[in-house]
Symmetry: C2
Subunit: 334 residues, 2 copies
DNA sequence: GTCGATCGTCGAAGCGATTCGACGATCTGG
DNA sequence: CCAGATCGTCGAATCGCTTCGACGATCGAC
């Protein structure tokens, strides 16, 4: 493996000059720069990451903590993760993957050993034990999701409050007078994961604003859970003409359950989902939905992190506006 | 941040002694070991990863390359990934996440900069361009999946040939005389991803062995694709009494399609799936299935890697035996 | 009782980069 | 035409750890 000294000799310059060519931190004549670059190519030189990290006090690696738990839609997590990796690479950084189960100790470890320069945490809860740790670590961090007290932190997420409201607005506009929200499994609410409660809040508030009847229902992420909720819902509220679903895995089972109950979508029942576009387009009928912009969130999270790493100020809270796409699953009530 | 020298002073020993306490590479008296460990705790010492990597020529990081492409079931990938992370941590290693899209250059980069000690590659194709790169990199590697020529490589995967055969064996035993395999989307076959063709081979061979009629059908991973295949299949082969499904996303849509076509499972049609247990248990009726042991594969992949890193010899090929669980979706033909 | 091993610890030499101050050479402005 | 900036490059120090050889002390064997 070629070292910087080899390159320097090959190009007839000092090692420091090679370093400056690479980092651009001092000006170098066009001519020597070319000569150095040629030597780098000729020798296939690649700087040693550890040496670099030691000398510069920068590892060019960011940690990404992914959730392992139940009740969260896995493909969305994967979308986040890959978009974070891709965005990080565009900023010349790599991504170290951590799982929830190492918990706070994991954060302490990767920061304490200078393994990573910064941290991205997904699936933040309202009272997340990692938040205080993050605050007292000196490393920049970005949270995907909002804790109860986001002071001094940089957080980003879809504006679920607005998303919940947007669904109701759309349905109200169509003329619906009673709507129901079918949400996450109970454990998600018990954990006080922010996104679930925020959707509920936006949904409820908008319904009140429009003066229409509304109810909220947790739903297990299984086919049986979907069936149960669908049945109960239709029995309890015969006048129900529209539902909002915010729970990816049960979207399809719910549609099936409604169909079996003799309610056709959208003629007898309008359905709006909060889910990734792929899922909404994949079902039959295609669903009117508010997209979960996983890729956008991942990309922006990295952007915020880089801003902080480079000493720029980053906004404390970033809420992405929801975008509702009308597809085939909503219509005026009959 | 405390350094090893601080710990050494605090404990009244030489820095090297601290290092040996941590690494266990030389014997240390019980007493000084305790003293050193106490100082480490007192100062909250955490070794600098970069310095360590530089001096020891070991980063204690493994790279994991995850696929980004279509036609592969995302939750399974995520299961692999998390089990790799967890297993790696048990061996005191971390995981650097790479995506397919950096391709071979990414492998060269992380190996060349000594960022990682070893590499795990998922979703290997029969003629994977990364294989030659892996061979010429000096770093140990483990492939999840098998290329056409696995010589000199360490590969691990579920034995899909045996899995395909196991499904047929089970159906033949029940008395079925015509079976169909509903497989991956066409693009997966075109890529020559090993697992798809191996399942097909095992399926076909077993059917021949039992002397029963068999056909194989690619299937787009959409609801429409499922519907189409189901309809065509039933029209083409009126005597069909059993199907094997090896394509997670369409499992539920297929079941729905069969039901709509008036075929009830398992009375009119037996269904065996090759999919994660969670999915098989989640549907109604619960599916007889061969599990995709993602977690086991991830864990063993890490084990193999560690063996190689520690100079032990690792087997070239590891094929995990399939395990078929009988649930409610298979029965003798009527 | 002595000699060679073994044990526990130390000191110093790297590992391979970055970065700071220094230093000629070239510009610039008055 | 000269003082002071600026530019391009160099050399040396430094980052924090591991590891090798050395060395006194303890041990076991004869």
């Amino acid at each position: 493996m070629a070292k910087i000294e080899d390159v320097a000799k090959h190009a007839g310059v000092a090692p420091s000059t090679v370093s400056y060519v690479l980092s651009g931190k001092r000006s170098i004549t066009q001519e020597t720069r070319q000569r150095v670059l040629a030597s780098i190519r000729a020798l296939g030189y690649q700087p040693h990451a550890g040496a670099r990290a030691l000398a510069s006090n920068r590892s060019n690696v960011v940690a990404l903590v992914v959730p392992l738990r139940t009740g969260i839609h896995v493909p969305v997590i994967m979308q986040f993760a890959t978009s974070v990796v891709i965005a990080a690479r565009e900023h010349d950084h790599d991504v170290l993957l951590l799982t929830q189960n190492e918990g706070e100790a994991g954060l302490r470890r990767v920061a304490g050993t200078s393994m990573v320069d910064a941290i991205i945490v997904m699936d933040v809860e309202l009272h997340d034990p990692r938040v205080p740790v993050l605050k007292d670590l000196d490393r920049p961090a970005v949270l995907i999701g909002f804790p109860a007290d986001p002071d001094g932190l940089t957080c980003i997420d879809l504006d679920f409050t607005a998303a919940g409201a947007a669904c109701v607005d759309h349905l109200a506009e169509l003329g619906h007078r009673r709507v129901a929200l079918i949400g996450s499994p109970p454990e998600v609410y018990e954990r006080e994961t922010g996104f679930a409660s925020r959707t509920t809040a936006g949904f409820t508030e908008a319904a009140a604003r429009h003066g229409i009847a509304a109810s909220v229902h947790a739903c297990e992420a299984t086919q049986a859970g979907a069936q149960k909720v669908a049945t109960e819902l239709l029995a309890e509220h015969p006048d129900l003409t529209a539902v909002v679903v915010h729970n990816e895995p049960v979207v399809a089972p719910l549609l099936a359950a409604f169909r079996e109950a003799g309610r056709s979508v959208p003629d007898d029942l309008s359905v709006v989902a909060i889910c990734p576009d792929e899922l909404a387009e994949y079902t039959m009928p295609a669903l009117t939905s508010v997209a979960i912009p996983a890729e956008e969130v991942g990309r922006q999270a990295v952007g915020l992190l880089m801003a902080k790493l480079n000493g720029r100020k980053a906004p404390g809270a970033t809420l992405l506006s929801p975008h509702l796409t009308v597809r085939a699953s909503t219509a005026p009530p009959q």
